[in-house]
Amino acid sequence: MLLEIKDLFKWVNSGGNRIFLLNDIELTINEGDFISIMGPSGSGKTTLLNIIGMLDDFNEGEYNFLNEPVHTLKEKYRANLYKEYIGFVFQSYHLIDELTVYENIETPLLYKNYKSSERKSLVADMLDRFNIVGKKDLFPSQLSGGQQQIVGIARALISNPKLILADEPTGNLNSKQGEEIMNLFKELNDEGVTIIQVTHSEKNATYGSKIINLLDGRVV
């Protein structure tokens, strides 16, 4: 078991009312799963993903990641935990505009204090694997959306995470690029990486092994 969520609630107070963003979520995810979270806008998909990724807090409930109780951990340990085991892929790629493809992929390693020679070889592997060696000195603005997302995935994978969280990874791409990315995820999943994606697309959901449907913050 990779992670487990029990009786999780998240709410905001608006005026006198408590509005639930997530309402009594129960979730268990095993290593090697490829989960798709689906649901209409505002159903809490991204919130759930961010909580799993430890970027966001929740108000009540339990969250265990690799048997560590995340809800009781201090910020610093939590950061170390996700730094170590989780990679993020965003809908709008979120590459750093001022850095080249090579430097963008290298960034997570800098924060993990890898040696220069190690970084070089890891980044080279990654460039090679995704066939973007020729683009390593280009800046994000010089790439197409699909290529940017590939760089985003390469960056997510560089630190060899157990879990990839992807928030509508194909949302800004055309269908051909989208297909490419989904195939990539499929391959990664076959290699043993756990993937959780948020998606609107039924088609993309079929790449996954399991679908979680959300509506108004509840699993349905």
């Binding site: 979120h94 590459l95 001022e98 850095l99 997570p108």
Partner: protein, 793 residues
Amino acid sequence: MLRNYFKIAWRNILVNKGSSAINIGGLAVGMAVVMLIGLWIYNELSFNKYHQNYDKIVQVMQHQTYNDVVGTQVANPAVMAETIRNEYGSDFKYVLQASWNYDHALSYKDKVFFKPGSYFEPEVTEMLTLNMLQGSRDGLKEMNSIMLSQSVAEVFFGKENAIGEIMKLDDKVDVKVTGVYEDLPDATTLQSLEFIVPWDLYLSYNSWIKDMEDPWGSNFTQTFAQLGDNSILETVSSKIKDVKLSKVTEEGRRYKPEVFLHPMSKWHLQSNFENGINTGGRIDNVWLFGIIGVFVLLLACINFMNLSTARSEKRAKEVGIRKAVGSRRIQLIMQFFNESILISCLAFILSILLVIIILPFFNTIADSKITILWANPIFWVLGIGFSVLTGIIAGVYPALYLSSFKPVKVLKGAIRIGRYAAIPRKILVTSQFAISITLIIGTIVVYQQIQYAQNRPLGYEKNGLISINTTEETHKHIEAIRTTLKGNGAIVEMTETTSPMTAVYNTNGGFDWEGKDPNLPVDFPNNAVTEEYGKTIGWKIKKGRDFSRDFGADSLAYILNESAATFMNLKDPVGKILRRGDRSFTIIGIVEDMLIQSPYKPVRPSLFHLLRRQENTFILKLNPAMSVNESMSKVEAVFKNYNTSIPFVANFVDEEFDKKFGNEKKIGQLAAFFTFLAIFISCLGLFGLASYVAEQRTKEIGIRKVLGATVIKLWNMLSKDFLILVIIACAIAIPIAYYIMDGWLQKFDYRTSISWWISIFACIGALLITIVTVSFQSIKAARSNPIKSLKTE
């Protein structure tokens, strides 16, 4: 890691060329100003430190009371040094008598030059620790010797050895060169001591000094001293207080002479005395410009922070990504600090370049000779330390604030920097403009005061007047010279007198008149003149008549200026008797006050009488019908007939008069210079802020445009906020400026009032500058295509 930070910082600079240029450029200008002012202040404060005995050297000065005020003077009786040596010798290492420092004709073979120098007692070389290049420091022990500064020696002897050569001093005595010393640097009070001759030589051909009936009755020399190694200035100064009082006559005691020691450390910066109290002097300028420097730097730092924080908000997304891929907060903090320090160090480098470029110009307007202290470690430590500090202060906000963002929120775009974030920035811009407007008003008032004093009625006609020093020969032949020059049309008239038109060379006390309080000590400028004086300078007789050759008795006649008549409280002054000792004189006329000394002070009560012996100066009125060059060459030719061995030197009175405004003009020019820079820096800040606000409101502008707002309406909306800020700044600045400048004007007895139009002018100027600066951004924002701005949301 560090390299990654540098890379990103550098690329950020390159990507935002415009705002980087404003940011770095603005800070560099501010730093350059501070560097200039700092160098200038350093130069002022290190004045005279060239002398190793700096801490122990003093000038013996005295306070005296006359006309009901305490006056302070450096002039002493010639016996002062000797007396102090005899009576208080154990408190001093040296006490030395010296003459005034003024131009003497020095000649060697066929070379003749006027060079400034002094007669001094021999130990002056030890006291001033002169750096001997040839000969030794005891070269003044022989009476007929002379020591030359390096530059004077080079004029006469080039690079050759000067020792043992015989020169002629003032066409009178032969002196032997016994030493050459390194020129005293510009930053010394005695910098124009270009040669030294022994005091004994002065006494030997002014034998009347030794024969004076009352050696304490006349003050015409200076006294310098070096305290003993263990002496304390204040103690010794109060000990010698009465050294003169105990020697003077009954009449002299009425002036209450009080001798004191003025230390070398105060010669340059604290040389003003008012009513017997040391009231500062140039130190006021040091403070003034020190404060201006701090303010200009403040302006630049405010900008730097404003612009870097405004820009850093664009980088919220980067913060989010970095956090998402594993950056810890401390690493982000380091990154932002690193970046702002890099920028401030770039600004430091640029500011050094700026200083190198501006320095010659600055030296011209500040009339200084400062240099960059390349070799001084303090300069570098301060400069670099200061840049790092600025970087840290400017980096605090982005470093601490931005690094606290939750990545989910920034990445979602949920963080909108609220309207309130702009408030500190608005306060900063308002204070910037308040400072700038204060400086504008201050500068205008300085210029207005100069203008006002320059337009002060002179009481004489200064155009075409020249002055030439007298010599024995020319004095003897004044009638011949006058007839020749009037005959060939070079001049209208000429006269011989004690003082030139722009200074007072002689004052006298001991006068008595009808109704005078017998215990009131008095002292008046007392000018000996020829009958043609009035006609030459064009004075205006108010009552009575001018001196005239038609009246034989005029040798016992006096003309008073109006202030003297008022001071003496004489109802009907013409015909009244003026007594001095046992002699009586008749007042024959009253002349309109003439502006001779400070253009800012009241005219002193002054007296004029006909001359009896050789005086100091000829004054000539050139013929306006002839060109100046032509008449001057004729004048020179005639004077050369009589002064064959002395170079001809003439001073134009109007030029000498203009020198009286030198100090205030300098302040005016410097103030204008700094005001310009302050406005420039403020504009940069405003420009940056305007672009930031326009960017912040891109979406709003887009929506408004889609809904039908015109460019004019949008421009109006975007500019209005800034105009309000500047109006608030005006409201703050005007009273402050009035308060400060009113205080400054109090220094002058003859002063202008601050006109209302000055603040109106300054405010309208500030508003115009604001409109131009802001419009550039707001029109750009208002004209942008709304589709684009809305799509990026």
